[in-house]
Structures are given as structure tokens and as C-alpha cells.
Amino acid sequence: MTNLEKYDNAFMEVLQLDASALNDELVYESVETWDSVGHMMLMAALEEAFDIMMETEDILVFESYPKGKEILSEKYDVAF
């Protein structure tokens, strides 16, 4: 599985979304499942998928589908 596939799978499984929903418009609280509970579940899924542990600050600024990719690639060496 590529990193992008892992990333997308976490979003689709945790937030119960179709692939078509994964785009730049997908931001925190734009869908019902991405609330504060969903957010922590998503973070846990991503940490497990990439075997990383994110910093508190990054959890807080992870507020959209594109922003997440940026954080993972810049700070955690996940290449997309």
C-alpha cells in the first residue's frame, strides 16, 4: 500500500467517507463524523498506519485533509 492509500484509508474508515469526499474541501467539522471524537480516532488511526507519534501541537493544527498531508510529510517523513 502506498502512503497515500494508507492516508486515505484512515479517513474513509474512521470518518466513514467515500473516496470522492477526500479533497481540499474536507476540513474539521465539515462532515458530521469529523467532530472532536472523530478527530482523536483519526489521529490514532494515522499514527498506527505510519507507526509515528505526533506532537500535541500537530494534532491541534491538523484541520483539513490537505493540511494533514503537509504535516505528515514535513514533520514525520511520510512521503506522498
Binding site: E29, D35, S36, V37, M40, A44, E47, E48, M53, M54, E55, T56, E57, I59, L60
Partner: protein, 347 residues
């Protein structure tokens, strides 16, 4: 209005009390004006008593107090009162909710550092089942989850110890500092007493953060020292940090430092009020009045609690954190019995 970004960039315990007093005078004036302009109920109070008048916490049970239009309310938080009791309802818009999370992160980060730790939540996984109505308990767990990674729940849905999970957690984190989080009374009743009952000693190292009130433990004659001792004995955890906070001012909690004092950060302040004259007291016991700079979607910036406390110092804690420190004696006798996050009724 308050420049929250600038405030968040500052050290959470870096402001001396004289600096803070000057800053708060203006900030509370601004916040009071904001709420008076946006909340009709608050406007009446403001006209009569002026800026910074402390609302009794129970007012949030009697009135729907909000300073934003209904369609901007993202989440309603409730104190988890027992059945038959009225609950407080706190209305959060996106800005206030986000601010609460950021401030909590700054405050707790000062004690834990930026790195996250494997986390064990000393509660039942059932707490977060209902995602639309947030109880104080659910909000607390969720709020603190940002400091942990891969959070596990120590208790099953029936509030019983999940022993296999605990053993696995200990094995995995033998050499890693961990974070334990729970509510004061529930940690005692459903975790420590159960470990004792089963003679199960955990070998962990790290920090336990707990809050929610001592009311029930005071009845059982368990004080903070005994609590810490038992935690150390049964889990191996030797840093136990209590916090004081309330659903009406989520985020800007008061953390206990390793010297055992509760600290007000730059995001909130505390005063002791004489319950008879309603004047501020510089020494001795009185009612705790809490000021928080966070709420803009509801007028909860200055609140008179029903808890009794006493100041223990100003800018002088050996831990180096500036500002006021205090201690709590519990609910003031005669105050209304009030649901808090330690209300868990036995089924």
C-alpha cells in the same frame, strides 16, 4: 478584544500578578462589554452591576445564556448532574471550542512537555458513546486525549477492570513514561480499590492527571496525600497531579504543581470571596471566584463557585510558576448539592 493568538504564544505561567492584574482589568472590561452587547440576560446584569460581576454558577442551570446566535452553536456541554437535578448548559461556538483545546494544551504542556505518551484512561469506553451531548466527563477525557497516543480504557463497559488490557499496557510500556488520566473519585473507586481487591500491582512510570472534585473522597476521609500514596503503591506512578476545573470554564483549568499548589495560568485567575460581605479576601477561607479569558460564546468569564478555598501564595511558588496559587476545601456547607464530573451512580 483580547488578542488570543498573542496570549497563546506566551508562557502559560510567565506573568507576574501585578502584570496580570493590569492586563485583566482591561480584558474583563472588554469581555463584559462583548457579552452585554450579545446576550440580553447578561446585559441586564451588566447594566445593574457593571463589568466583571461574578455570575453564580447555578445560573447556567436556570437560564440559557449565550452570546452568539443559535445557529453558531457547535456543541452544548452539560454538567453531568444526577437524574432529577437540573444540569448546566454551556454553549460553544467554533472559536470558543478551539480556544479551549489550545489553552488546555498550553497549560498541560507546561507540565508534560510537547511529546505525547502512551495513555491509559481510567474510565469506561462507554463514556464517549453519545457524541452530540457532551457530559463534563466525556469532554474531560477527550480534552486530555491530545496528550496521549493510542489511548486505552482501563475499564470495560460495566466499569470493571480490564485486566488483560492492563497487563498488556504494562508489558508494552515497561520502559516508557506513560500518561494516566481519570476523574478523582472514579480513579479511586473503580481503579485503585479494584487493584487492591485483586491484589494486582501495576509497574508503570509516568504521570497521573486527575480532576473532578474531592466531595465523595472527603466523605470517605481520603485526602490528597493518601491518594498519592496509594497510587504510587498500586501503579508505580509517582507524579500525581490534580486539577481544578469546571464545565463552565473548560480549558482554563488550574493545575496542581509538584509542590502541591493549584496554579492559575495566564488564561484564568482566582479570587477568594467572603460569602457574607462578598468582598475579596487576601487571606483565609472563602468562596472561590474564577475568571477565565476564554468564553466568548457564553457569558462565563467571571463565575462565583460554591467551592471553598484559600490562597496559598502569589508569585512565590518554589516550582517557579508565577501568579496566584490556592487550595480547595471542597463544597461550602449549605451550598446546593451540585452534579459534577464525579457523579457516577451505581447501577
Amino acid at each position: 478584544m483580547i488578542d488570543y493568538e498573542a496570549l497563546l504564544a506566551q508562557k502559560p505561567y510567565g506573568m507576574t500578578q501585578p502584570e496580570k492584574d493590569a492586563f485583566y482589568r482591561e480584558a474583563i472590561e472588554d469581555l463584559s462589554k462583548h457579552h452585554a452587547a450579545n446576550c440580553t440576560e447578561y446585559a441586564k446584569i451588566y447594566r445593574q452591576f457593571g463589568a466583571g460581576f461574578a455570575l453564580p454558577v447555578r445560573l447556567f442551570k436556570l437560564k440559557e445564556l449565550k452570546s452568539v446566535p443559535a445557529d453558531q452553536v457547535r456543541r452544548t456541554m452539560t454538567s453531568s448532574g444526577t437524574s432529577g437535578q437540573a444540569v448546566s448548559r454551556i454553549f460553544l461556538d467554533a472559536d470558543t471550542a478551539a480556544r479551549q483545546t489550545k489553552v488546555l494544551s498550553r497549560i498541560v504542556g507546561d507540565f508534560l512537555g510537547q511529546g505525547r505518551r502512551p495513555m491509559l484512561i481510567l474510565d469506561s469506553s462507554a463514556v464517549l458513546k453519545n457524541r452530540t451531548m457532551f457530559s463534563a466527563r466525556g469532554a474531560g477525557i477527550l480534552g486530555f486525549s491530545i496528550f496521549g497516543s493510542g489511548a486505552k480504557y482501563a475499564l470495560d463497559e460495566n466499569m470493571e477492570l480490564n485486566v488483560p488490557l492492563l497487563e498488556e499496557f504494562c508489558r508494552k510500556n515497561e520502559n516508557t513514561p506513560v500518561l494516566l488520566f481519570g476523574f478523582t473519585f472514579m480513579v479511586w473507586q473503580h481503579f485503585i480499590l479494584k487493584l487492591k481487591e485483586q491484589g494486582l500491582h501495576l509497574k508503570l512510570n509516568g504521570v497521573l492527571i486527575h480532576g473532578g472534585g474531592w466531595k465523595k473522597l472527603t466523605e470517605l476521609a481520603v485526602d490528597n496525600d493518601t491518594y498519592k500514596q496509594e497510587i504510587r503503591e498500586w501503579t508505580g506512578i509517582d507524579t500525581v497531579l490534580n486539577y481544578y476545573g469546571m464545565v463552565e470554564q473548560t480549558g482554563s483549568i488550574f493545575m496542581e504543581c509538584p509542590c502541591g499548589r493549584l496554579h492559575a495560568s495566564i488564561f484564568s485567575d482566582v479570587d477568594i470571596i467572603d460569602p457574607v460581605t462578598m468582598e475579596k479576601k487576601s487571606s483565609g477561607r472563602g468562596l472561590i471566584r474564577c475568571t477565565s479569558l476564554l468564553p466568548t460564546s457564553y457569558p462565563g468569564h467571571v463565575l462565583l463557585t460554591e467551592d471553598e478555598g484559600e490562597l496559598t501564595g502569589i508569585d512565590d511558588c518554589p516550582c517557579g510558576r508565577k501568579g496566584k496559587t490556592f487550595k480547595i476545601y471542597g463544597r461550602l456547607a449549605g451550598a446546593e448539592i451540585r452534579g459534577c464530573s464525579d457523579t457516577y451512580e451505581k447501577r
